[in-house]
């Protein structure tokens, strides 16, 4: 029986600057089931990243409802929302966003320290980095790693605490084609192991790595399909 890990119902989000209201999400509905690898594809500026922020609880929707790991987020306090994100969400960013002063291994250790969800680590940081072909880079800081290596560390950081869902924001956007393929292969492998992944991208070739694709335009989901 399938289980919804993430649900968005009629989610709208607008930003206000002085007297100007800028609608970014205009009524998004979607459901992500546990174990799915889903892509949200659309052009730049269509609201993909904002959708990820709203789904993860980093930003609150202006109207509508988000249910994350079975918990409706609308009534949660900031503190409760932080705790929920801590337990249930792993992030992968376009710009990797590793902490520059920590080694690859320490970035993973820090994630384990922050993200306590009772599930235990997927692997030890050293073993996980080894699995991703980074055993020899464990003690290197991000500035000493290539872009592809940094993104692999970022993926390891996102999954090490076994969150309910991994949210990836243009994860191949700063990579060359070889590294982009490698990162997508890792996502697919993780998905085969049971991890739920929601990735946003503007690139149809990248979206094709997912099992299901939502098409987004001007803040709305305008279509759904499979690669």
């Amino acid at each position: 029986m399938s289980e919804a890990v993430l649900t968005a119902r009629a989610v709208e989000k607008e930003y206000r600057t002085d007297s100007v209201r800028v609608p970014v999400l205009r009524g998004v509905d979607l459901v992500i089931q546990r174990g799915e690898f889903v892509a949200v594809m659309g052009p730049s500026g269509c609201g993909k990243s904002t959708l990820l922020y709203v789904l993860s609880g980093l930003a609150r929707p202006t109207t509508g409802e988000v249910v994350l790991a079975g918990v409706p987020t609308g009534e949660l306090s900031d503190r409760e929302l932080t705790r929920l994100r801590q337990r249930e969400v792993g992030f992968v960013f376009q710009r990797f966003n590793l902490l520059p002063v920590l080694s690859a291994e320490d970035n993973l250790e820090l994630a384990l320290t922050i993200k306590r969800n009772g599930r235990g680590p997927l692997d030890s940081p050293a073993q996980l980095l080894d699995r991703l072909g980074l055993a020899h880079r464990r003690r290197h800081r991000p500035a000493q790693l290539s872009a592809g290596e940094q993104q692999r560390v970022a993926i390891a950081r996102a999954v090490i605490s076994q969150p309910s869902i991994v949210l990836a924001d243009e994860p191949t956007g700063n990579l060359d084609s070889t590294n982009a393929k490698a990162v997508l292969a890792i996502f697919q492998e993780l998905n085969h192991e049971g991890h739920t992944i929601l990735m946003v991208t503007h690139n149809p070739e990248v979206a094709a790595a997912a099992g299901r694709i939502f098409h987004m335009l001007d803040g709305r989901i305008v279509g759904e399909g499979t690669p």
């Binding site: 932080t82 801590q86 966003n97 902490l99 993200k115």
Partner: protein, 364 residues
């Protein structure tokens, strides 16, 4: 668990070094100003308490610490000896010599009284006082000025030979025969005050009361009160030192505040990353405070080491000054430095936790 705070401190070496140096200077200033004030006062008090006497008897409305002159006739000695409880009364005609550009009190005493007034300190070079225009000085002044027995000191229009150098610890650094002081400087048989020894230690207060009752123009002060007398006389100095320490700590506080504020602004994106990972407000506050405390602890250690160096430099450059570095002052300075640094980090920490994570993640 990796320490993000320590990693940040080690990674940003320039900022860390400047912040640590600022805290170190604040701690050093607090330690040195306190140590110099207390060290000098305590050294003077200790020397005065080496005198084998219980009371200093002087004219009423006259200060043992700051006033000069010779307000008492020598005949007052007989009156003091006639009062019950007084074992002996030693007259002192004090004057002031400028040596090495600094004023030094000199006591004119009866050479026979040198043992008790000098706290029975040994003559380490030359001989004791005898008569005529001659002086003995303590070893610290002799070493500071490079004086030796046989050297002549020019002061008050007089040329006074040094006949002896005495172990450090005598109440003033120069002694002359009282007769010479009275003949060449006072030009009368008046004196400045009397050291009075009581017949029994338990009789000091009663004897002092009797002296003041029977000789109402005099004041009898126990030498055990000399610290209080000094600190009361120089209460303004304490306020000045407190002000200096406060300014030093305020600078420490502001430097840490600025350093941590800059660090928080620099790391806006990192704070966004931490929030995206689910870091709580407390986690972020703790990291900012831990970084600040790490800087302050390093600053306190550096400040303590710097203080030892500055103390040595002061005592080398100004050998007559005493700087006391006591462990409990270091503890107080350390606490003030660390608490001040933590307070300085509170505002930056509050700025950090209030950052909007989405804006922080897009911060360039």
């Amino acid at each position: 668990m990796p320490s993000l705070a320590i990693a940040n401190v080690l990674h940003r070496k320039g900022r860390t070094a400047i912040s640590v140096a600022a805290v170190a200077v604040g701690v050093m200033a607090a330690l040195i100003f306190t140590g110099l004030t207390q060290g000098t006062i305590n050294e003077v008090v200790q020397r005065m308490q080496n005198v084998d006497a219980d009371l200093a008897v002087h004219a009423r409305n006259w200060s043992l610490v700051v006033d000069s002159g010779w307000p008492l006739p020598m005949s007052a000695r007989e009156k003091l000896l006639a009062i019950g409880g007084v074992k002996y009364a030693t007259p002192v005609a004090a004057t002031r010599f400028v040596i090495l550009g600094q004023g030094h009190t000199a006591y004119g005493i009866d050479p026979a009284d040198f043992g008790q007034v000098g706290g029975y300190r040994e003559v380490v070079e030359g001989r004791e006082l005898r008569s005529g225009l001659e002086m003995v000085m303590d070893r610290r002044l002799a070493e500071a000025g490079g004086f030796q027995v046989g050297d002549r000191i020019e002061a008050l229009g007089l040329t006074v030979p040094i006949v002896g150098i005495v172990e450090t610890g005598i109440p003033v650094r120069i002694f002359l025969p009282i007769q010479a002081v009275q003949e060449h400087i006072v030009r009368s048989d008046y004196v400045t005050f009397f050291f009075v020894k009581c017949t029994a230690p338990g009789a000091i207060d009663a004897t002092a009361a009797r002296i003041e009752e029977q000789l109402p123009s005099l004041r009898a002060q126990p030498l055990s009160n000399y610290y209080r007398v000094l600190t009361t006389t120089f209460w303004g100095l304490h306020q000045f030192i407190t002000a200096v320490i406060s300014v030093a700590l305020a600078i420490t506080f502001l430097v840490v505040l600025l350093a941590m504020y800059t660090a928080v602004v620099e790391r806006t994106r990192e704070i966004g990353i931490l929030k995206a990972m689910g870091a709580t407000r407390w986690f972020i506050i703790r990291e900012v405070l831990a970084e600040s405390v790490a800087i302050c602890v390093a600053g306190v250690v550096a400040g303590a080491a710097l203080s030892v160096g500055v103390k040595a430099a002061i005592e080398w450059g100004f050998p007559l000054l005493t700087v006391e570095l006591r462990p409990h002052w270091l503890v107080v300075a350390a606490l003030l430095g660390i608490v001040g640094g933590a307070l300085g980090a509170l505002y930056p920490a509050s700025v950090a936790v209030r950052r909007d994570p989405v804006e922080a993640l897009s911060y360039e």
